[in-house]
Symmetry: C2
Subunit: 307 residues, 2 copies
Amino acid sequence: MGVVALAGGVGAAKLLRGLVRVVPPDELTIIGNVGDDVEIYGLHISPDLDIIMYTLAGIVDEWRGWGVTGDTFNCLETLAKLGFETWFKIGDRDMAVHIARTKMLRDGLRLSQVTSHLCRMLGVKARLIPATDDLLRTKIQSGDRTLDFQDYFVKRRTADNVTGVFFEGADKAEAAPGVLEAIRSADRVIICPSNPVLSIWPILSIQSIRRELEAFKRPIVGVSPIVGGKALKGPADRVMASLGFEASAYGVAKFYHGLLTHFVIDSVDWECKERIEELGVRVTATNTLMKSLEDSVRLAKTVMEAA
Amino acid sequence: MGVVALAGGVGAAKLLRGLVRVVPPDELTIIGNVGDDVEIYGLHISPDLDIIMYTLAGIVDEWRGWGVTGDTFNCLETLAKLGFETWFKIGDRDMAVHIARTKMLRDGLRLSQVTSHLCRMLGVKARLIPATDDLLRTKIQSGDRTLDFQDYFVKRRTADNVTGVFFEGADKAEAAPGVLEAIRSADRVIICPSNPVLSIWPILSIQSIRRELEAFKRPIVGVSPIVGGKALKGPADRVMASLGFEASAYGVAKFYHGLLTHFVIDSVDWECKERIEELGVRVTATNTLMKSLEDSVRLAKTVMEAA
């Protein structure tokens, strides 16, 4: 019983804000990516967990696509005056979450416990679990350079050609408490429209999670983050292409081959449908753009009806 | 050559903002109290260093008497929503200083190095040195209870009767680099109008500093923080009284007995003059209230002319 969603950042959050209106929140478990977690100013930042938390709490800055709506940036501005780098934009309210998380982690709580506390205090009813409490960091290879994820993603604005990706710590990382149980008892697993390589792969790189998904007998429904050969946001198309995957809905389905049973693609990608079905995946084509909350609800319904 | 000022918080800061206009800032070394330093949310806060830094940088919130002028409190408000105690008021710009300090300390810098960096970035030209880089914490005894300083001072609003004070770590604390040298080469030492027990005593509790001051052959000029038997701010009068000192300018002079050569008291306390002089201390009576910058400059001049 219940639904499990594998989630990256913004794209996932947009689907999830619809999903919590279609599925009773207490039946929804979100497994969030922590590969892009980063320590800045000694503070532990979990960008993907935060964007989901803020979105479901109704406090996300939708215009920016990150952070807390109406936030001020006085702390960050002062840090700049004090000589610190401020390429990672953190608002004052956002900063409080990082301060709180860091304090609780230093006090010995695990990231999953901290996340659960933060969600409860922010009024998030769905269950959000980081994929792992252990260290797992996405590293980007560009030729002979290795970049930390946020260096690649924010500081250098995804300008580098990605020639490889690996997940530091993945070989030792265990699924956070509740993750495997949630998958085991789920009616369906949803793979949100997140960057397959940079947001979902880190989750799948945890062996126990991948094994649990491979053994899963019920529907695994993906939503393509690539529409008309372009990523809706971020560098997914470029990264897929530079790693040798086709930058298309088909390429995403191929990336998830062996896991997906159903795939929701955008109507503009109807010409991919047949090739995806040849992978043994059932395809639903619909409008996957989520500009409004209504769009999110509509797409969430389609995802829930896809199997 | 040069002037050394022993300084607590607000009262000291008010004199110092005048002093930097009377003494060339590069000839002024301020030795700041760290007994009331506190860790909140895992961040290292040095309230006395901060109030001096903010005052000399021209960014202090004069109306509040602490923090940065025009600051917002969005981070703190969010921490409250996340279930954290927020009795210690920290604005968003103020928070940046604590984040920066903590990060630099964790990176292995000493508090004196961090303070020097922060002052430079904020444009503070006088030299501000924490009395010690070692742990030194003022503890308040009230009957059979022992309170951390900020618990007594901020959280419990100085409501407890102080029956004892001690300075954790004082026996092992060494003067921070530059402190003893500054005293040794100074023309005069000023003891700012800070709480003698809670702000100056922690500095004097460091043996090497006390010894250096006891051996000092030039003027040590104090300014009374008690006017007409009342502390201008804070609990100095009550604390003096409950510890058996007279809550008066005379009581303060007595507290500093053996160190002071000169003492600046308020004109309203003229009747104390003779008793203080009997302690072997020369007395100057003047208006010691510092409401405006001009007041501070005037008092600073008096202090510099007192010997």
